[in-house]
Amino acid sequence: MSAIPLSHILILACTLFTIGFIGVIVRKNTLFILMSLEVMLNAVGVAFIGAGSVWQQADGQVMFILILTLAAAEVALGLALLIQMQRRFNSLDIDLLSKLKG
């Protein structure tokens, strides 16, 4: 199996992470922000798996499973909050939630 160079994996992970991050920043809709967050988490997961395979260690895959679990929990909570938000504000615009303004 010809090994994919680590740099390629990292570039992929970085690209995915940046796309996700930009998504978080620019989207107003909370649903899209949650989705972008998923992309970011997956980017980190890619990096872990790639690193694990390069160093022939199982730790990377273990971490990915942890991230997966985390992402699942996060989506569950996030969607629950999303529903609450829809009910209270009739909107999913994240900028409406600015009560902590100084």
Binding site: F21, V24, I33, I94, D95, L97, L100, K101, G102
Partner: protein
């Protein structure tokens, strides 16, 4: 017995004061006046009894009341005797003169005041203040140490303040009272500093021992007695309304007339003279200051004489004349003629009290009209008052035979050959005498001669109290000269005889001095002919439209304006500019800085989730970048 009498001397009026202040509102006029005048009578009688005990065998009487405090600089050093400051009275020739003037004249003026102020709603308060003033004045002249003297000194100042502002509803009176208090306070502060200095140099403040101690410590011309004498002089010029602290006295005429007579003519304003005479031991060690005293006196007597010529208010004329007569006393002290100065103090108290009180009676009869240009022709209409007033003026002008003649001639005679005065000051004194007779005549013509210029009917007071007190004062003014010998005798022990050189004096000195007032009278008779004429040649004579120069003189030769510009305005401007307290502002800068930081940081707290995310991301990138650069640069080196 004598000692008990002396000890109680100031306390009769004090008791009367306390009773009047405590229950004054409930007392009738009869009770209140009996109480206050009676207390004064007790004081006067006991002071005469006490003075009669003084003789060449018993030159001083001391009485110790209680120990006030002890100034103990260093308890560890046993060789320094602590300075005891006692409530003790000391009676000698000088204080005998003073207490007889204070209690005697004080008694007469109290009598007058009881009649004069009858009907005032605050009558008992007025009499209470007058009593309190006498208490303070008696303590001032009887004190055996300078701190107790200072107590009396400040006490009379406070009473003067209270009495000038007695009719407190008038803004002008209130301001006059404040001015009098603060201006004299400037002098008092100088005097207080003088006391600190004296204590540091000599280690005690007892009046009796000061002269002796001073002589052992210093020789004439030393620096310490120079400064001390100068500072004490500061106190004296403040109280006695001499240059440069003279501005308060004319305004002080805002008080009721008995006050002007008692405080601002007969007693309090002469306290400065008393102080210098009392401290002659120190002053003689500072000959320069002696000549300053003489020059200040001369300058004041000329300035006040000129200002008196321009006044239109009868009381202000008398006020300036008081200033000028005290100038004579100062001049005499400065020339080393202490007994002549004290003698003039006494005769001046007689005739100036007479003048003020008679003026008061006239003012009362004229429904509180004080403007000379609104009087006229009173000679026929108020013959009693007019006669008494002319007696007073005769004494003031020092016409031969009157009490003023003896005392003023005694002063002038000493000037020419004194080492600290000299011929130049003699000429000043003579010119002052000329001015005195001119303004006296002007006053007399305006008030008593010419045609009637007042509108309301005259209402002369018929009170016997008032008349008796005036008559006694007039008698004293006339015969005051007979006390000369007793006085000089009793004072001779206190004041050293200074070396002088009478041989060099020209022969004409005495004749000139005697003739001068007559020249003044003749001059005024001619110059003020319009004032005394029933039909003046110039119809505008009584219009009182002063020229610029007259206004300038009337306002005391511009000193008020000068002090206002130099001291009052800058001080109040400084106060106004810094009302918010610059130090507070500086400290509040901290608070301002914190709140600015707060605002800046607050603006980053937008509450927008996406901004926070962006900020986190940006910061992470920056952090990573800086770490990378650092590791690169470390690797490079």
């Amino acid at each position: 017995m004598t000692q008990t009498l002396l000890a109680f001397l100031p306390f009769y009026p004090l008791i009367s004061f306390l009773l009047l202040i405590g229950f004054g509102q409930r007392l009738s006029w009869h009770l209140a006046s009996t109480l206050s005048v009676g207390a004064m009578a007790l004081s006067a009688i006991s002071s005469f009894i006490v003075i009669n005990q003084l003789s060449t065998q018993v030159p001083v009487i001391n009485v110790h009341l209680w120990e006030w405090f002890v100034l103990n600089l260093n308890a560890n050093l046993s060789d320094v005797t602590p300075a005891k400051i006692n409530f003790s009275f000391h009676l000698d020739g000088l204080s005998a003169v003073m207490i007889s003037v204070v209690s005697g004249i004080g008694f007469l003026i109290h009598m007058f005041a009881a009649a004069y102020m009858k009907g005032d709603e605050n009558f008992s308060r007025f009499m209470a203040y007058m009593n309190l003033f006498i208490v303070a004045m008696l303590i001032l002249v009887l004190a055996d140490n300078l701190v107790l003297l200072y107590l009396g000194w400040e006490g009379v100042g406070l009473c003067s303040f209270l009495l000038i502002g007695f009719w407190y509803k008038e803004k002008a009176n209130v301001l006059a009272a404040r001015k009098a208090f603060i201006v004299t306070r400037v002098g008092d502060t100088a005097m207080a500093i003088g006391l600190f200095m004296l204590f540091k140099e000599l280690g005690h403040l007892n009046i009796n021992d000061l002269t002796a101690t001073a002589k052992t410590f210093w020789v004439a011309g030393d620096e310490a007695p120079y400064w001390i004498a100068l500072l004490l002089l500061g106190g004296a010029v403040g109280k006695s309304a001499q240059l440069p602290l003279q501005t308060w006295l004319p305004d002080a005429m805002a008080g009721p007339t008995p006050v002007s007579a008692l405080i601002h003519a007969a007693t309090m304003v002469t306290a400065g003279v008393y102080l210098i005479a009392r401290m002659n031991g120190i002053f003689l060690l500072a000959p320069e200051v002696m000549s300053y005293v003489a020059w200040l006196g001369a300058a004041t007597l000329l300035l006040a004489g000129i200002a008196a010529l321009a006044q239109n208010d009868i009381k202000r004329v008398l006020a300036y004349s008081t200033m000028s007569q005290i100038g004579y006393m100062m001049l005499s002290l400065g020339a080393g003629a202490f007994s002549a100065g004290v003698f003039h103090l006494m005769t001046h108290a007689f005739f100036k009290a007479l003048l003020f009180l008679t003026a008061g009676a006239i003012i009362l009869a004229l429904h509180h009209q004080q403007n000379l240009f609104k009087m006229g022709g009173l000679l026929k209409r108020l013959p009693f008052e007019a006669t008494l007033f002319s007696i007073g003026l005769v004494c003031l002008m020092a016409l031969p035979g009157s009490s003023g003649f003896f005392s003023k001639e005694a002063i002038i005679a000493e000037l020419w050959s004194s080492t600290t005065a000299g011929p130049l000051l003699w000429y000043c004194a003579i010119f002052g005498a000329l001015l005195t007779s001119i303004y006296s005549c002007r006053l007399f013509f305006l008030a008593f001669m010419g045609r009637r210029r007042f509108e309301h009917e005259l209402q002369p007071s018929t009170s016997q109290l008032l008349r008796i007190s005036l008559l006694v004062l007039a008698l004293l003014s006339v015969i005051g000269g007979v006390f000369a010998n007793t006085l000089t005798l009793s004072l001779s022990a206190l004041f050293p005889v200074l070396p002088s050189d009478p041989i060099n004096e020209p022969q004409w000195l005495h004749s000139v001095a005697i003739v001068t007032p007559f020249i003044g009278i003749i001059f005024s008779w001619l110059y003020f002919a319009d004032y005394r004429a029933v039909e003046p040649a110039n119809a505008n004579t009584f219009q009182d439209k002063p020229s610029v120069f007259v206004t300038f003189c009337r306002q005391g030769l511009g000193f008020d304006a000068l002090y206002d510009l130099l001291l009052v305005k800058p001080y109040s401007m400084l106060a106004r500019l810094n009302r918010r307290d610059i130090f507070d502002q500086l400290i509040m800068l901290n608070a301002w800085y914190v709140s600015i930081c707060h605002d800046v940081l607050k603006s980053s707290q937008t509450g927008k989730l996406r901004w926070y995310a962006a900020a986190i991301g940006l910061m992470t990138v920056l952090l990573l970048l800086s770490l990378t650069i650092e590791s690169f640069s470390r690797g490079a080196s």
